[in-house]
């Protein structure tokens, strides 16, 4: 009989091994899923993981890795800080949308002003937009004790409606011949989040993600606020004893994660997406939750996990077009990753013991 036994200390080995095993298990289970769909499982898994990096068109896909990874990492870092403190912002998707709206809104409002400060202003506006959207669940939680999971999640759908309203109304391109969607910011140099080095996929959002990773790493490891965040997540009573004010921490963590999600949205709308459109958001805010956990809520881990998830996004798209795999199968594949990670995670704190079945 198998039995679980609590480890006296969390295993360091398993902390590192768990994500790797989870990826491996996902490959196996995903392969099975693809086989059931009548595809060659080996080919499908290879397409997802190999093709984007070393395939025939890798030179096109590799930059995409940064383009898709940056928002995931940027959002994931913010979420990871909150999750560490036991503050569950599930509505990053909404903050991402609102950040894109406020960021793009500033750019569209001053169009066609050609000045150096347009883009920085948009960055600030994007961060503020995401921050403000996250303040709604934060203030409600602090003031009335509402559940931030529900409120932040529900606000995603509000934000989606807001996005549609903006794309069809105030932000609609006056020269767009009646089509929904705003002006394309890629054609407005002062507001365009262009590639810093052509052909690398490296835009300002990637830089911001990198800074966020370093910032979070230093914060968690070296700063008292990071210590208080970890303490609050692990032992809330001890945190209050240490002098942490829970309300202030809720505001801080939701604020940071909201601002980072807003930034991600702003960099996306002014760069790769280009315009405010009804279908602007593609689920980065939700996928970032997986990224945060896959990365063990550790900044460096989140950076790697973000790239990995970006890889499955890109690989998934290739598999869709080359092998005809349904999009839902790819989403399941990504979901499995979180599922297996949480399952394997058990071994960080527990070990399995074989128990001889004894005769009574």
């Amino acid at each position: 009989m198998l039995r679980l036994e609590r480890r006296p200390q969390p295993s360091r080995l398993w902390t590192w091994l768990a994500p790797l095993l989870a990826v491996l298990a996902t490959m196996v289970a995903g392969g099975l899923l693809f086989a059931l769909l009548g595809k060659n499982p080996y080919e499908a898994v290879a397409t997802i993981f190999w093709e984007p990096l070393f395939g025939e068109f890798a030179s096109y896909y590799r930059p995409q890795l940064l383009v898709k990874g940056a928002p995931l990492v940027l959002i994931g870092i913010g979420l990871g800080l909150g999750f560490r403190a036991g503050i569950w912002n599930i509505g990053a998707e909404g903050q991402y949308i609102v950040g894109a709206l406020t960021g793009a809104g500033v750019g569209l409002a001053v169009y066609p002003l050609d000045a150096w400060f347009v883009f920085p202003l948009m960055v600030i506006a994007g961060a503020l937009g995401g921050w403000a959207w996250a303040m709604i669940p934060a203030l409600l939680k602090v003031r009335f004790g509402t559940n931030e999971i529900l409120v932040s999640l529900m606000l995603v759908y509000v934000a989606e409606e807001l996005l549609a309203a903006m794309a069809l109304g105030p932000m609609k391109n006056p020269e767009g011949m009646g089509f929904p969607g705003s002006r394309n910011l890629q054609q407005y140099p002062a507001a365009h989040n262009a590639e810093i080095l052509t052909g690398t996929g490296m835009h300002w959002g990637v830089v911001a993600a990198l800074i966020a990773v370093i910032f979070a790493y230093v914060l968690l490891g070296r700063h008292i606020l990071g210590y208080h965040i970890r303490l609050s997540g692990q032992a809330p009573r001890a945190a209050r004893f240490a002098g942490v004010r829970p309300a202030r921490l809720v505001l801080t963590c939701l604020g940071i994660s909201g601002a980072l999600a807003g930034l991600a949205g702003m960099f996306e709308v002014s760069g790769p997406a280009g315009q405010v459109s009804i279908d602007f958001n593609v689920g980065y805010g939700f996928t970032a939750i997986i990224v945060a956990f896959l990365g063990r809520l550790h900044p460096a881990g989140i950076a790697l996990a973000g790239l990995l998830m970006a890889l499955t996004y890109i690989g998934g798209e290739i598999a869709q077009s080359n092998l005809g795999l349904p999009a839902a199968a790819i989403q399941m594949f990504q979901g499995m990753l979180l599922f297996f990670l949480l399952a394997v995670d058990l071994f960080t704190n527990f070990r399995v013991r074989l128990r001889k079945t004894e005769v009574a």
Partner: protein
Amino acid sequence: MTTTLLEIEGLTKGYPGVVANDDVSFSIREGEVHALLGENGAGKSTLVKMIYGLVRPDAGQMHLQGSPYRPAEPRAARAAGVAMVFQHFSLFEALSVAENVALGMETAPPQRQLAARIREVSETYGLPLDPFRTVGDLSAGERQRVEIVRCLLQEPRLLIMDEPTSVLTPQEVDILFQTLRKLAAEGVAILYISHKLDEIRALCDHATILRQGRNVGTCVPRETSARGMAEMMVGSAFAAPEGRGRAAGEVALDVSGLSLASPRAFGTPLRNIHFTVRAGEILGIGGVAGNGQDELLAALSGELASPPGAVRLAGVPVGASGPAARRRAGLLAAPEERLGHAAAPDMSLTENALLTGAQREGLLSRGFVRWGAARSFARRVIDAFDVRTPGPDTAARALSGGNLQKFVIGREVLQRPTVLVANQPTWGVDAAAAAAIRQALLDLAAQGAAVVCISQDLDELMQVSDRFCALNEGRLSDIRPASEMSVEEIGLMMGGAHGMEVAHV
């Protein structure tokens, strides 16, 4: 009756890195009250868990009434007539007594029938209990009765009691002892786990003493001195705390008109509390747990804010300040719950040193943590208080209760507080560690700090306090010099409004 009920031979149980029980043998006769004595970590819990079917022995065997006994799970143990009352109760506060009892039964009879049986059993054994009261409203002593009655309904042949008196007033202890004697007279064997020597001498017929997992001897407690048993338990003589009779200085802590609602459901609000503590003095606050101790500690540590003037530190109002500001001002605290309140279980000792040491030990520079300094502070605590651990990188939860408690108290004492508030400083701690902790509190007072010691251990309070008062249902009794008081008087003070009556048997 002298028939052997339970015979234990060569029981051995190892965990990774430690042998919890090593070749333990003894036997319990019917109708006998048998003490299992030992320090924390001596292997008492593991041993009774094996008897109760919670843990499977690696080697050795047990015989119950002559036939082999190997309970695979507690259910099997109960079926064989072995019942256990745990130190920590497993009761649902929001449910009634009868509902709680029903939850623990295989097939529960209808509530009305069950209530009648609960009444019957509780009256027979002198454990007054109303089956329809909500457990959340019961005192710790009454809750224990629920657990005992729950066991007695199974009509056990062996009743295991794990440190049953740690939550009781002396009067409640008397009632419990009468019950246990009555049970024994009816032929029920009782295995009584404790490290309180006086109790064992008063109650038990035989004692088996464990040290580091081994049976180091048996004795007849009535014929052995408390000191003799203590030395068998510890393995060597240990120093009893010394150093009373200091001259009290200026008023260091002044609490006046402190009233606070409890933040927890079923918590106890504080009601108009007044007291002062002078520098160099130890104020003992007795009382049964759950009478506002946690709330009082939180109000003093700064976790609960009060009107500014309700708590004054050397005359300066600090009632509205948070824990960090109070630490800076010199008011430190050590909560009762080690894991999760005084320390974060999964964090290292270094990180836990930072938890309260950040302000006074200068472990921060512009908001950044000086980990090197935190580590050396942790190491100083470990060295000064003889904390047994591989080093400051060990997780707090890997330490034994006594060692972690020494760390928690040491962490505050080394910060040279002007006022230290400790809640249950030696709860669940072995005798040697308890002596060390009490000595540290006495030394701290001798160096001129004011100390508030909240405790339910009367011996401890008598040993350390200069003045004494008791907390009962959130109210503080009059404060009196400890030297003028007897244990009985203190007990009455603690019992206060509970209206304890000695059982009518």
